[in-house]
């Protein structure tokens, strides 16, 4: 059995230290060692985007990183998108516009949408499709996800203007 090392991560604002083997991927450590099962694994080879998390503010695929590579980093998972018990506008919009069915891709989709609006607060439908093209959904046919992201953008722009 391989030796384990201590890994410290700041996950959703909380410092957490866990033991893990160097070969364990970040997604497995988040899910199995820290109990954050909202991060889903759809392909484990970096194509589907279900395991998307934010690492030091950047979107990454947690199936393509070893947890040891994230040593000391700040990570936001779907469980950390809510702020002070209040749903993020992106979460509300996904429900309002029926941007999810089975919900398996949804955590990754919501994080990708949050990340997009940080970089481009008022995207066009084509920009949403282009930018989020790295996340796969098998249920919705995407149309209502695009509507959800655009709806969240409107909501957030109203609040800030």
């Amino acid at each position: 059995m391989m030796g384990q090392v201590a890994i410290t991560l700041n996950v959703n604002g909380r410092n957490q230290t866990t033991l893990a083997e160097p070969r364990e991927i970040l997604a497995d450590v988040l899910r199995d060692r820290l109990g954050l099962t909202g991060t889903h694994l759809g392909c484990e080879h970096g194509v589907c985007g279900a395991c998307t998390v934010l690492l030091d503010g950047e979107m990454v695929r947690s199936c393509l990183l070893f947890a040891v590579q994230a040593q000391g980093a700040s990570i936001t998972t779907i469980e950390g998108v809510e702020q002070d018990g209040e749903l993020h506008p992106m979460q509300k919009a996904f429900s309002e516009y029926h941007g999810l069915q089975c919900g398996f891709c949804t955590p990754g989709m919501i994080l990708a949408g949050v990340d997009l609006l940080k970089r481009n607060p008022d995207p066009s439908p084509d920009e949403v499709r282009e930018d989020m093209g790295g996340n796969i959904c098998r249920c919705t046919g995407y149309q209502k996800i695009v509507e959800s992201v655009l709806g969240a953008a409107r909501e957030m722009n109203e609040v800030t203007s």
């Binding site: 099962t37 889903h40 392909c43 589907c48 749903l87 429900s95 089975c102 398996f104 949403v128 249920c139």
Partner: protein, 788 residues
């Protein structure tokens, strides 16, 4: 919105609050204390004899608790049976591990149980299998040749069934006269291929089994779409009493039919848990998911359409060869049979004949996949309609229009045995043409061609026979399960309702839909209805459970149970109001005196309290306010519609760009428009994958070449167009509420609509898009061939 009008409301889904916060619980999220993990050793060969398996090294490796080779499987464990066994169909089962030889890449050969998935996978390297490679056959037509390698030797050949539709309708009348094809003014011929693709839920398969030695109970956390039938088959295969198995279903990350079937891993994980007395968990990785979860479609079709020169169809005759894969899976050759039954589609086809042949090949078995053979049948007839239009110099819309079954011709008995209950096919076509501005499109097309732009318009009409189904008809079709759906509705002492359903939600919003139906018929707030699903200990038995087209059946069971509750509420209310039951009515959650000037009524909560106190129950009534109704539908429901696609083809690259996608859908009255739109969008996207991108590719040795999402391409945001949805509403005459199944319908027409549009676009070049998927590379090849 009044509180009683829940049917038809765009109610937000009650499933969402957990799922948008990462609080869903999927199979991989089930972590029981002291769980052990399974990894599976799979065949690297398409066809090989297993001379020996030496697992001695694996058994001694760190963290390994159990290794299962074929010799380690207890003698009493049997294979899973095939549920649909048509007369003349050869038999096989689904074994836990390959028996003496492997028949496809990915077939399970041995299993390891260890303290982590990582360690279990490490230990697979400690199993040494001596394989003797055999000649493989991967083409379903070559599999039928006399000198083809035989995959299941006990069969003697590779033909699982040769089933003939000889023109008999459900009334037993024969509609097939071969001379019609000899004497017709026009014969149109086509050879079509539908690629091998599948549902590919984003969540792979998985299972957790937990044997409780004290109580002799196996609790199985499963992603089966049909939990009760799964329990029946699992208990029988393991030699356990049925009630010794409890199946719990967590959130499902998509099913699309693929999770309807039973699988070897279900047996392996259960055997391991019973052997070790600990929870055992297996979650497929994507690679093994792609090679071991059933594939779908995969057909070669040859059709002849006989017509008068004015375009009137006289007959349809054809041959459908289904590439079955290595062996029969849970539903046998069912999908290919449905192809034969669905091919007459919306048209008055007076003569029909279809040979259906299912041929085994050294590939993953094909079985249940959303649409279940229907999309293949629609692809066949709808491509043929366009070929006929072209040969006769007619407009594709006109040839459809003139051959359609008319609204006053229902019930319609098609010459393949299907009965259509209702529909308005011409209205769907006309609405699609109008929404797309068809005449203008045709005029523009000419103009664009002169500018070198290849724009195509493709139409596909469809029927979707859903709501399976009347149990006696399933029996007649040798489908060994019932088609009913049961529902228990209980009103608790506080007047709130709980609905218990055996249906398994896969993401369609089943819980929301049934809550809407119950709230509507009880006349109470939707928030006061709980829906219980996913536990075979609590929910009524259902033997079918293909929920995609089942809401109609389950919803009726809920409505019927509520009718019984309302009748009892009126009886109890009569005593409370000191009135005759005949003078009372139930409405808006109240029992009231009809037409009384002064409102005299009691609420459902007050009645419920009396029902539980039982101080003064009517003669003959027992305490409680609950009912169970098992609804066996008298007929199938026929959803229908029309898709119209507009797209451009880049003749330099073979790339397709969508310009418009119009949907007209008739699924009867809509329970929740939001969810119906979602189902249509998703079904279309999935079918567009199979039409343009997705294909399982094998080499001639049976090696699967598409084992990742880099090679097996799922449609992404930029591949799926915006869709414009319109409705025509023709209620089913025989279901309460008139609902029709609709979860699968989106998958039926896109293949033909896209192929027709591509062919239409390339009319100047004479290219016929007859093989799905129409990948850019494949289309570019056709264009090169046509242009020299």
């Amino acid at each position: 919105m009044t509180t009683t009008q829940w049917i038809g409301a765009r109610a937000p889904r009650r499933e969402d609050p957990a799922l948008i916060r990462g609080r869903g619980r999927y199979i991989a999220d089930i972590n029981l204390p002291a769980t052990l993990h399974m990894a599976i050793l799979r065949s690297p060969y398409g066809h090989a004899r297993i001379n020996s398996i030496d697992a001695s090294e694996a058994r001694t490796m760190d963290g390994v608790h159990l290794v299962i080779t074929p010799d380690d499987i207890p003698d009493h464990v049997t294979q899973f049976p095939i549920v649909w066994r048509l007369p003349g169909q050869k038999d096989s089962g689904i074994p836990a591990l390959a028996q003496g030889k492997v028949r496809y890449v990915g077939e399970p050969v041995a299993a390891v149980v260890a303290e982590s998935r990582y360690l279990a996978e490490d230990a697979l390297d400690g199993i040494d299998v001596d394989y003797e490679p055999l000649d493989a056959v991967t083409d379903c037509e070559q599999a039928l040749e006399d000198d083809a390698p035989v995959i299941n030797e006990e069969w003697g050949d590779n033909v699982a069934i040769h089933h003939v539709f000889a023109g008999y309708n459900a009334l037993g009348e024969c509609h097939y006269e071969p001379e019609v094809f000899d004497n017709a003014e026009e014969i149109v011929r086509g050879r079509l291929t539908i690629g091998r693709h599948s549902g590919i839920p984003l969540e792979t398969r998985g299972i957790v089994a937990d044997w409780d030695e004290i109580h002799g109970r196996l609790t199985v956390h499963s992603e089966s779409q049909v939990a009760h039938l799964f329990r029946t088959e699992l208990a029988a295969s393991l030699g356990l009493p049925e009630t010794a198995v409890r199946v719990l279903t967590p959130n499902m990350g998509g099913g699309f039919g693929n999770k309807w079937d039973r699988y070897p891993e279900d047996l392996l994980v259960s055997i391991a848990s019973m052997e070790l007395g600990k929870p055992v968990k297996w979650i497929a990785d994507r690679r093994e998911g792609l090679m071991s979860t059933v594939h779908g479609r995969a057909q070669v079709q040859e059709w002849e359409l006989a017509l008068r020169s004015d375009g009137t169809i006289l007959g349809l005759r054809g041959k459908v060869i289904n590439d079955l894969g290595a062996h029969l899976h849970s539903v046998g050759i069912g999908p290919a049979w449905v192809t034969g039954a669905a091919a007459p589609n919306q048209y008055r086809i007076a003569n029909y004949y279809c040979d259906v042949i299912a041929a085994t090949t050294n590939k993953t078995p094909t079985s249940t996949f959303r649409g279940f053979g229907g999309p293949e049948g629609i692809f066949g007839i709808e491509r043929m309609m366009d070929k006929a239009a072209k040969q006769l110099g007619m407009d594709p819309a006109e040839i459809r229009r003139m051959n359609m079954i008319q609204p006053d011709q229902f019930p319609w008995f098609n010459a393949a045995g299907a009965v259509y209950d209702s529909g308005n096919f011409p209205a769907c076509l006309e609405k699609a043409l109008e929404a797309a501005d068809y005449d203008r499109l045709r005029a523009e097309q000419e103009e664009l061609r002169s500018q070198g732009i290849y724009r195509g318009i493709g139409i596909s009409s469809y029927i979707h026979v859903s709501g399976f189904g009347p149990s006696p008809i399933l029996g007649y079709l040798s489908y060994y399960t019932g088609g009913y759906e049961g529902s228990t509705v209980k009103i608790d002492p506080n007047g709130k309702a709980t609905v218990y359903t055996g249906m398994i939600p896969m993401g369609q919003g089943t819980e929301t839909t049934l809550a809407q139906v119950a709230a509507h018929h009880l006349g109470i707030d939707m928030a006061d209805v709980r829906v219980v699903w996913g536990d075979t200990d609590q929910t009524p038995y259902t033997g079918f459970g293909s929920a995609g087209s089942r809401s109609n059946v389950a919803a009726v069971a809920v409505i019927k149970a509520i009718e019984e509750i309302k009748a009892k509420a009126v009886r109890i209310g009569a005593g409370m109001l000191e009135a005759d039951a005949e003078d009372l009515e139930y409405a808006d959650g109240m029992v009231s005196v009809k037409g009384a000037e002064e409102m005299r009524s009691v609420s459902l909560a007050q009645v419920a309290q009396q029902a539980y106190w039982a101080h003064a129950l009517p003669e003959g009534d027992q305490p409680f306010l609950e009912a169970t109704y098992v609804y066996d539908p008298p007929n199938f429901t026929t959803a229908s519609g029309c898709h119209l696609v507009v797209l451009d083809v880049d003749t330099q690259t073979g790339k397709i760009t969508f310009r418009n996608y119009v949907v007209v859908d008739d699924c009867g009255p809509v329970i929740n428009p939001l969810l119906v739109e979602g189902q249509i969008h998703g079904g279309i996207a999935q079918a567009l994958g199979g039409a343009l991108l997705e294909e399982f590719v094998y080499d001639s040795d049976g090696q699967l070449l598409t084992t990742s999402f880099m090679d097996y391409l799922l449609p992404s945001f930029t591949d799926v167009p915006d869709m414009e949805i319109h409705h025509v509403v023709t209620p089913s005459p025989h279901t309460e509420g008139g609902f029709k199944g609709m979860g699968e319908a989106g998958t039926f027409p896109p293949g033909a609509a896209v192929a027709n549009a591509v062919t239409d676009a390339l009319t100047p070049l004479g290219v016929e898009a007859d093989k799905l998927p129409i990948t850019p590379n494949r289309l570019w090849g056709l264009i090169k061939e046509a242009t020299g």
